[in-house]
Symmetry: C2
């Protein structure tokens, strides 16, 4: 792993542990979501090939009697998060959270002034700090900002940060930097009885703290990297505590593995934006029956950011080549989306 590309991957991914009777229906559609026509449903999309491919796929798999019909139970769609559902520049938002948390905790840690990556972060040189601190530095950053709390305590800290922190370029809350066209896509799929999961390199509990509010995706549908978790008795009460280390990295081959473990089925649709999604996309694409696989391509330097092969964060090279070879859908952010973020 090249630490010069510190922001290529989300925090957990950087650590790189390896990447390795009656019938219940599994609907998690919106309670009263009446199927809407695609034209009103995907309002922020231009009339472009990517949008037409989405609508064509959804209509084929949901039309009874169609050769490609898929029963609701098997309608599973997975989405990467950073760079796919919300922005990830100039650094993954979870890294911004960790940086802010170091600043907040610094008064109780005078020793950080002399120790990377904390020293650099406190001087404002995040990139340099991550490079100089190396792998061990990243592990320490995660332990100091994500560990030794109960999941409930961690959730409170993340929620507090999300409600106050602002993105340096837009001066908006991070929660406002979700992609409006993708929100509409989530709704459109759910209205057609798809189960929607997030499958991201981010920490699972970090994402669960806001995924339901932002995307309507409940905690059980958030799959991410996993911190150590242990059961302790605290005052006689069994208590789960997040340890400082990452036990499972949900990136690369980790994504199909985590999907199989959690869902027990291969999704029929997958959306990503970087090489960390490559294995997930090609695994989904190679399943039997109708499949839909798409990459969000960041081509919009004006409204968002433009990056792919040389990106520090969200590097997209092998998966883009494969998309072209395999005929996957590529969503061109500049040309395909009428708006990027929800209106202010």
């Amino acid at each position: 792993m090249q630490l010069g590309r510190f922001a290529t991957l989300s925090l957990a991914v950087l650590i790189g542990c390896g990447g390795a009777g009656a019938r219940e229906t599994m609907r998690d559609t919106k309670p009263a979501a009446a199927p809407r026509s695609a034209s009103s449903a995907l309002a922020s999309w231009n009339d472009v090939p990517s949008r037409r491919a989405i609508v064509d796929f959804v209509e084929r798999v949901t039309t009874e009697g169609s050769r490609d019909y898929v029963a609701p139970d098997a309608r599973i769609a997975v989405f990467d998060n950073d760079g796919t559902l919300w922005a990830e520049q100039p650094m993954p938002f979870e890294l911004a959270f960790a940086v802010d948390r170091v600043r907040e905790l610094a008064p109780s840690h005078p020793e950080w002034r002399a120790r990377e990556p904390f020293a650099g972060i406190l001087r404002g040189d995040v990139a340099g700090a991550m490079e100089r601190g190396g792998r061990r530095g990243i592990a320490e950053l995660i332990a100091a900002t994500h560990g030794e709390m109960t999941p409930e305590e961690f959730e409170r800290v993340v929620r507090e940060w999300m409600s106050t922190a602002r993105h340096p370029r837009y001066d908006r809350r991070y929660s406002e930097l979700v992609y409006q066209p993708m929100l509409e896509l989530l709704d459109y799929l759910r209205a057609h009885e798809f189960r929607v999961y997030i499958v991201s390199g981010g920490d699972t509990d970090f994402m669960r703290a806001w995924a339901e509010d932002l995307y309507g995706v409940p905690p059980a549908h958030v799959i991410g990297s996993q911190a150590q978790l242990r059961l302790e008795r605290r005052g006689g009460v069994p208590t789960l505590v997040r340890g400082g280390e990452i036990e499972f990295v949900d990136d690369g081959p980790g994504k199909p593995i985590a999907i199989e473990r959690t869902i027990g089925a291969r999704p029929i649709a997958a959306f990503g934006n970087s090489d960390g999604d490559h294995e997930m996309l090609s695994w989904v694409a190679s399943g039997p029956g109708p499949r839909f696989v798409a990459l969000v391509h960041h081509t919009d330097a004006e409204r968002e950011f433009a990056y792919d092969r040389d990106a520090r964060s969200g590097r997209l090279a092998a998966a883009l080549d494969d998309a072209q070879r395999s005929g996957w859908t590529v969503i061109d952010m500049r040309d395909d989306w009428r708006v990027v973020y929800p209106p202010e």
Copy 2:
């Protein structure tokens, strides 16, 4: 771990890696499940304290305006499997599967004749084989019977076994040895918009092969021990393969950990029958708000089996003491259930 008690725990548990290491609604009730009255719903239960406690709890948490009302999204119930939803004597059914599989595969493994636990199993001395083979023997048994297959291949093997193997005492298929009163309880909870999960020491894929048919519990709601899983390219196609080793043991403290990781919430109801469920039960019991925690107590030597403190399989001691201390519900199989298994 005492290997003399080879059948105390299910296979995976024996290996003992340590045991840790727009709004979507999450309904998985039956599509058109109209709430039924408890009297028709729990027909195989006698009018006993355990049944009344169940009905009282469900009515309190589902009656709007009640002080104990719980919104449907938080209505999560977890069930152990072996000894809680189906029988587990004279040995856990997954062990019976492994034994049958050894016999089936033996012709291609002449070396097994001289090597425990295979040699003993092939001579019909399962208990002795497990004791003499020790920990390493159990690991080899699992690798030989559960590993180096895709999840789909393993599912086929398990389904084939379930459709043919018969229980030695009852001469019925294992799938017929589910507890009728518990099937009714699953239905009753789902009819009241509970999400029902299985949380068992058994191998997740082993249980997924039949949990939906037997209990109406879909694959994503089956939480169990986890085999290694790796992603390989086979003929250019990304393929998940189960390795021979167990990576996560879903027993003891592993159960609350797996629940938190998979569901991201603490259930409000939990059902178990052995000390392997103790941590799950006490963790569920100690959450805020209304809680329901119950033990199935095997007291019926005539219709089923009678065992607790000295059992080889399904040992129940510490959790029974705690149940008495803490006022958990104890389901007395002999007195509380009108029938045990579904009628032949």
